[in-house]
């Protein structure tokens, strides 16, 4: 089992200065700010999806809780979203309301569709960290069955385990709210709604009403996260086990060490990537993307079948890119692009691949998806929060 072999190297990978060098994985696994994360087939038998388990409770009622597995860890979005279909009827979350007492609902926007449902308040427990009354989204709640036309106008519905690829999304991006000031200052169709008895209508949503990054609401270790995953061999791995660590420089196990800090655009969360003298000005690092997606005219895309949507170069390409933060700091990243057809054919039962890439129709974007995270500790600092390297938003690795 490649995932267990890979796990052994994780002890070296992680910054365990607080453990006196002898704690290793046992200490990590039991530290209150450390949560296990895995790459496995998940509910839809897919590849390179990073999952964890989340416990949510009725606000202030620790005896009314539910633990939900296979929630996708997504640094490309903000906020916890859980499908209504996986929630227990006995879990009584509180409805989020606006200043007039009207229920608040959201149309979560994603490039591949929308998530529609009410914003509810829940106490969120992950590892030993707790956040009270966090606004989360309940997706496809039957009590909000009428999807506003301005929400369904942005694309297909993501309203089931099959379409979402998970039981929910744990958005741990660099932003504290998903929409932010745009939705606080404007009525933006296709985002936030109020739903009085007369029906839902587009509405502004104060920052505090919007979906929140749960990590930023913990009482401690709340300035960011670390994703720590072991390397994955060139032929792939059946699965991968790693750690989601809360806080940056707040404990002995989450120090930045020698990581290069890459500041990101405060409005978009993006930075610049330079590859073969081409500049990708809207780049981002994202556990929610299952490959490295960038446009490269020299790399052939797969012709179809299981590898459709990925790259199929004649031979494995070794590439060197430079990542540049908005503050000017740079970092070189070497990566490989293998033939996806060959990878899948030779390893039909593997679900983790470090050298998987695909095309991108936007030539300004370099999407550093999950393969980037294998073999690294990747830090993500939340906007406005202080860290030993200065305030977020930034990423570091």
């Amino acid at each position: 089992m490649r995932n267990f072999a890979s796990l052994a190297s994780l002890a070296i990978l992680l910054l365990t200065t607080g453990c006196g060098g002898g704690g290793g994985n046992a200490m990590l696994a039991t530290a209150p700010n450390v949560q296990a994360i895995t790459v496995d087939p998940g509910p839809t038998n897919n590849i390179n999806l990073l999952f964890t388990t989340v416990t949510i409770c009725a606000p202030g009622n620790p005896s009314n809780c539910q633990t939900i597995d296979h929630v996708l860890v997504d640094t490309g979005s903000t906020g916890l979203r859980i499908l209504s279909s996986v929630l227990s009827p006995s879990l009584s979350l509180r409805q989020q309301t606006d200043a007039n007492g009207s229920p608040v609902a959201e149309c979560g926007q994603f490039a591949d569709g929308y998530t529609w449902g009410p914003v509810k308040l829940a106490d969120v427990n992950i590892s030993g960290e707790q956040a009270g009354s966090v606004p989360i989204q309940v997706i496809a709640d039957p009590a909000f069955s009428v999807v506003p036309a301005s929400c369904s106008a942005i694309g297909p519905a993501e309203d089931s385990v099959q379409t979402l690829g998970a039981n929910g999304l744990l958005g741990l991006g660099v932003f504290q709210q998903d929409c932010g000031i745009t939705c606080a200052q404007n009525v933006v169709p296709g985002t936030y709604y109020i739903c009085p008895s007369t029906g839902c209508q587009s509405a502004q949503a104060d920052l505090t009403q919007q979906l929140q990054n749960p990590a930023g609401m913990f009482s401690v270790d709340n300035n960011g996260i670390v994703i720590a995953l072991p390397p994955v061999p060139a032929t792939g791995a059946a699965g991968v086990s790693g750690y989601l660590i809360f806080g940056i420089g707040t404990q002995g196990n989450n120090g930045l060490g020698s990581a290069q800090v890459i500041t990101v655009d405060a409005n978009t969360g993006t930075f610049t990537t330079i590859l073969n003298q081409l500049t990708f000005s809207n780049s981002f690092i994202d556990t929610g993307s299952n490959a490295l997606f960038f446009a490269d005219a020299n790399i052939a895309t797969c012709s179809g079948g299981a590898a459709s949507g990925f790259d199929c170069p004649a031979s494995t390409q070794s590439l060197a890119a430079t990542i540049q933060g908005t503050g000017g700091a740079t970092s070189d990243v070497v990566f490989q692009v293998a033939n996806a057809d060959s990878l899948f054919a030779s390893s039909p039962n593997f679900f983790a691949f470090s050298n998987l890439a695909g095309p991108n129709s936007d030539a300004t974007r370099f999407d550093w998806g999950l393969p980037f995270f294998f073999g690294r500790n990747v830090f993500s600092a939340i906007e406005g929060q202080n860290t030993p390297a200065g305030p977020g938003p930034f990423v570091a690795y």
Partner: protein
């Protein structure tokens, strides 16, 4: 096993070129009134409908091979509608913090888009529908989306896909 997390393939499109700077320099703000409307595949008499429904501002950006109608919504998202010399909308492209009203922008093609997306989907940062007569490509994350939809068989002569953004 479902492998197709992202569906961009099939059409080999070099993505590295940029539309000439001269095109951008030629962009001129024109005054309304403006009798155009713009929905994909329809005559350019639908832009005003889109502008009004999106409570947006509008400017026309004449280029050599087509005219661009740019609608900018209060949220900051720009929707560009590409009108051929014969007056039909052959492409739309968007960029900004939120996804615009694609039902309005894609018109009769919207249902085909959502149906095709349901058939093969999963990646939350990318979506590409590649059909002989309809291409829809959506990218990004909240606060930074981009995308385009075009009718390959209606592209005016000499227009490259890379220009549509």
């Amino acid at each position: 096993m479902q492998r197709d997390r992202d569906f961009e393939s099939g059409i080999a499109v070099p993505e590295t070129s940029r539309s000439p700077a001269s095109v951008l320099l030629a962009l001129v703000m024109l005054a309304l009134p403006f009798s155009a409307s713009a929905t994909l595949g329809e005559a350019s008499t639908s832009t005003e409908v889109d502008r009004a429904s999106m409570k947006a501002t509008l400017r026309m950006l004449p280029a050599v091979k087509y005219t661009v109608h740019e609608i900018r919504t209060p949220s900051g998202t720009a929707l560009r509608e590409y009108v051929s010399p014969s007056g039909s909308v052959f492409a739309v492209a968007w960029q900004g913090p939120v996804i615009p009203d694609l039902r309005q922008a894609l018109g009769i093609y919207f249902d085909r888009y959502t149906e095709a997306a349901k058939a093969k989907r999963t990646g939350h940062r990318h979506l590409a529908i590649l059909q002989p007569d309809l291409v829809v490509q959506s990218n990004g994350h909240m606060r930074a989306f981009s995308g385009r939809a075009y009718l390959p068989k209606m592209l005016p002569q000499g227009v490259t896909v890379e220009e549509l953004r």
